[in-house]
Subunit: 224 residues, 2 copies
């Protein structure tokens, strides 16, 4: 069993806004599980790159994927150092003073070295779990990846060992004397919201529409 | 006048999904102007870091800010190399085959070397424009940053010169033979949506609530 909290390291020690820092594993996992996008940072010599991609988690590993032969997999899949940022924006924090404006958010920063998944059945299972993150029923319904597709795809795992969490929530915090100012203050909450399903114009007749409202990714209770 | 398109460079040449690539300056600016979060990548020796922060644009510069003495400003403010990723998620693309699942998105990648804004009046003006991105009326109403606050804040500009855009939109694209499968396919649109304003419990009496519906950040026509 992994520890309930991540150890603080030189890289994950949060110096600014330390009161917003957390190393709680469950909280990190909730944020990762809700996220539809992560931002993968790597460096080629001294040149940094950041690439957006879809993150999913299985146990104590974070997975991403990409085209075999692509730039990012080539850099991070075989032990290359990466820093992965996941940020969920929860609100704009509107203070009485310009300086104390902020945002409410939940973010996770993962440091690690990528491990390429070579075993074809493990890779197939992991890609299945990527679809499962959206909808478990969908993972069973779709045409599964064939050998050629699996061969064209790199799946890369990162052990969740060196991780920090930062969360801001609640109303603005102004300087004491500014509370007397007649300036509206508060929070504008924001969230990623799904609209109605848009059916592919080329869909064959009589295929029922899935019940997106039941998808865990939008229905799961959210840690705010 | 800057060119209408960004020149393609070694770093910004998009190799995968080149049909989704763009170097259009107006499109890049629309995406930057809509974004509430960007992801700033930098490297300390061979160790990559990615930090989320709020982006805003003035003319042909992208600005970010941070606490003076913070890790990120220290690394990127004085000519340090950075890669800034802005990604707006527009939808989940649900194909008949697992392999052709995708997301609809608009993303901008900016490469550049940060320039610290030292002039105190320029810095004050730029921070004012950061609030203006949320609401121009608010920028005028709030208590402006004082000298001490300005001194504690680093503002960092990046010339928008080496920039690429990537956009995916529309329905899934499946393999020809898969269109005969009885699997629902289409798009689940998603967007960052604002809820109702939450007034600070400590707000003084009789301060009118702003009209958030008029804020450009949520009302601006969106390039999809």
């Amino acid at each position: 069993m992994p520890q309930k909290t991540f150890p603080m390291t030189e890289k994950t020690r949060i110096k600014r806004g330390a009161n917003r820092a957390s190393y709680d594993r469950d909280l990190a996992y909730q944020i990762i599980d809700e996220a539809m996008v992560c931002h993968v940072g790597f460096a080629v010599k001294d040149q940094p790159y950041v690439i957006p991609t879809f993150p999913w988690r299985v146990g104590d590993f974070l997975y991403i994927h990409g085209a075999k032969g692509g730039h990012m997999p080539g850099q991070v899949a075989d032990g290359g150092k990466a820093c992965i940022d996941i940020t969920l924006l929860d609100g704009l924090v509107l203070a009485r003073s310009a300086f104390h404006h902020s945002v409410n958010y939940r973010s996770v920063i993962v440091f690690g070295e990528g491990q390429r998944v070579d075993h074809v059945e493990e890779k197939a299972d992991l890609l299945d779990r990527m679809i499962t993150k959206i909808d478990p029923a969908r993972a069973r319904a779709v045409r599964a990846a064939n050998k050629k597709e699996l061969a064209r795809t790199s799946v890369i795992g990162f052990g969740l060992k060196e991780v920090s969490v930062k969360v801001r929530s609640g109303p603005p915090v102004d300087d004491e004397e500014d509370y007397a100012l007649p300036v509206w203050a508060g929070v504008l909450p924001v969230s990623l919201t799904a609209g109605g399903l848009q059916t592919d114009p080329q869909l064959m007749a009589d295929v029922p529409m899935p019940d997106a409202a039941a998808w865990s990714v939008f229905g799961a209770p959210q840690q705010r």
